[in-house]
Symmetry: C2
Amino acid sequence: MRQVAVIGAGMTRFGKHVGRSMKDLAREAVEGALRSAGIEKDAIEAAAVGNAVAGLITGQECVRGQVVLREMGIGGIPVINTENACASASTAFHLAWLYVASGMYDVVLAVGMEKLFHPDKKRTFAAIGSGIDVELADEFARQMSGEQSAGAGEARSVFMDYYANITRQHMARYGTTREQFARIAAKNHTNGSLNPHAQYQTPRTVAEVLTAPMIAEPLTRMMCSPIGDGAAAVLVTTTEKARQLTTKPVLVRASVLGSSEDHAPHTPNVVAKVARKAYALAGIGPQELQVVEVHDATAPAELLAYEDLDLCRAGEGGRLIDDGVTALGGRVPVNPSGGLLAKGHPVGATGVAQIAEIFWQLRGEAGKRQVSSARVGLTENGGGVIRGENAAAAVHIFTV
Amino acid sequence: MRQVAVIGAGMTRFGKHVGRSMKDLAREAVEGALRSAGIEKDAIEAAAVGNAVAGLITGQECVRGQVVLREMGIGGIPVINTENACASASTAFHLAWLYVASGMYDVVLAVGMEKLFHPDKKRTFAAIGSGIDVELADEFARQMSGEQSAGAGEARSVFMDYYANITRQHMARYGTTREQFARIAAKNHTNGSLNPHAQYQTPRTVAEVLTAPMIAEPLTRMMCSPIGDGAAAVLVTTTEKARQLTTKPVLVRASVLGSSEDHAPHTPNVVAKVARKAYALAGIGPQELQVVEVHDATAPAELLAYEDLDLCRAGEGGRLIDDGVTALGGRVPVNPSGGLLAKGHPVGATGVAQIAEIFWQLRGEAGKRQVSSARVGLTENGGGVIRGENAAAAVHIFTV
């Protein structure tokens, strides 16, 4: 397979874009990626477009990619519409990478896009909740309602119950504390304050996180990613062609997608398995990572990702955040962008936005949130929940 | 890129499966493909799953593939959910092919699946209608309502108006007649009567087609594909591995996907452009084809496909059907399966069902509808409509 490089990235600010269409958001992201790469749209030979829930939000169930791309004058090329819940955009990136790696096309666009805000909030929640087996959803809701669960908040959905449940399990098993989860949220909100693309740009303290409204015990609102709209885009090509176009190509060293399966308790989950495969393919171990973006749909999800990605051993995630290892300035900063918690989480855009962040970090273009001299980065993006773990997971490793 | 072969195919009968879930339909198709290939499900290394409208029909907007595959004990593998309206399944096949061709995985499953029937017919029509730019849909409806358009029938949707419009253009430009379109429909219904998987298995005469209820002038109901449920699955692997597993591998000689773009009137449309690229990649010309499955969402769509695929010159499609060239027993039988008109058109299943048909034809396993000694086949699958032509088109060429 050919070696592939990222040559450009663009994204909208994530947030509430009620007055803007998905076409408009996607255009801003794609035009940003083209400018970043220094190429024209006519150079794009194929596109993979990730989106999770437009069918339920806008009724645009089909040909979502063609609808937005044609509007900006991009047509006549293969357009693959893909979905993997919150991992839709990294799946799109995986396919763009695959097109180039396979030898079929040389310059491929990956777009992630989502509008979650809808005047009828129920529609937004129904859309987000469709990342599980909807036939089993009622049963799932019944199981959860027996346990402690409080109030309905902005980010409340069946996923928050799922995360609350695994959070309580981690606390019971390893003694992880609410303060440690709060520390992750405070870190990410503080990182977000340095990122002009972030939905939330206000630094937060641990005390503020802990006293925010409770969504699902022990998760407060600031420990949960918000509802958001947005789009992100990147361009990939062969490493050879990338070197002609830029002095700073960002090489894709591994692109691995996986899904959940039945496995024994306390054995590696889908994220851990996909990460290990990615490390093996890249020939790069977790100790070599210098900047990481993970899928912090909630603060505990980031802590669990530390362990699944082998940044530390099982049960030691709390110590990693306490020791400042994953903060900006630490040994391996995680979510310098602000992560899903502060940058935001327009679900079908998230995976490509994570890759855009690593692209900027490895090129030294990350502004006030720059991780100094980072040369090795990783993204981890999870999507949906089936039988208690992510239905889809994607891990990508990059180097300069 | 590695050469890829199809080693197994399975499908449900297409039709009204109100009492069966999509999981149940997909299971029948996948188990059929596994039996056909003589391999176990554990051999599957990745899956691409095409579906167009489950989000609007069942609310399962996300992780549709994982939901059905996990149910049948298939997990832990990359699952790519993909959509391209009526070309969703051939896009899934394209991705399965790409995984193998690229060298990433050796045995990959492609599934197409759809449930269109819903107790609320409006929901079915809204779902089918979402294959256009829904923001522009109202404007489109306004444009069409000025022209002659009659009654609402089972298969009526905005697409029937679109097809009626291009049909009238072809009649005006080339003198093509209603009888010629009716002859295509009669041929396909007669072929469908030989296919146990077909939704409609009653032979029809030209007179019966012409006197069926009018959907949108000049299209009668029998010239329009029906609403249907169903699933189809195929397995692909390297040609090398295929030869170890079977004495009759069906080689994929070209797999090409494209989308529409602005172009001058009477210049090649997306189907024609994709087909020409496929012929070039395969090193096989239209005159070498021995069996073809095309996207006859309506009878005129098949006639137009004759011309777009260069089975005849522009304007000569009517003569091709009159001369019996595309009938069973003709020089190049088209839609021996009964096509979308008679076999049925559960949109997200269609593309893989077409490929399954060519697989069976080239292996001599097509029963009463067998095209004798066919060694070269093609499938053409279109999806969605943007600015008056298919938003997506996929052409595949196969040989034994």
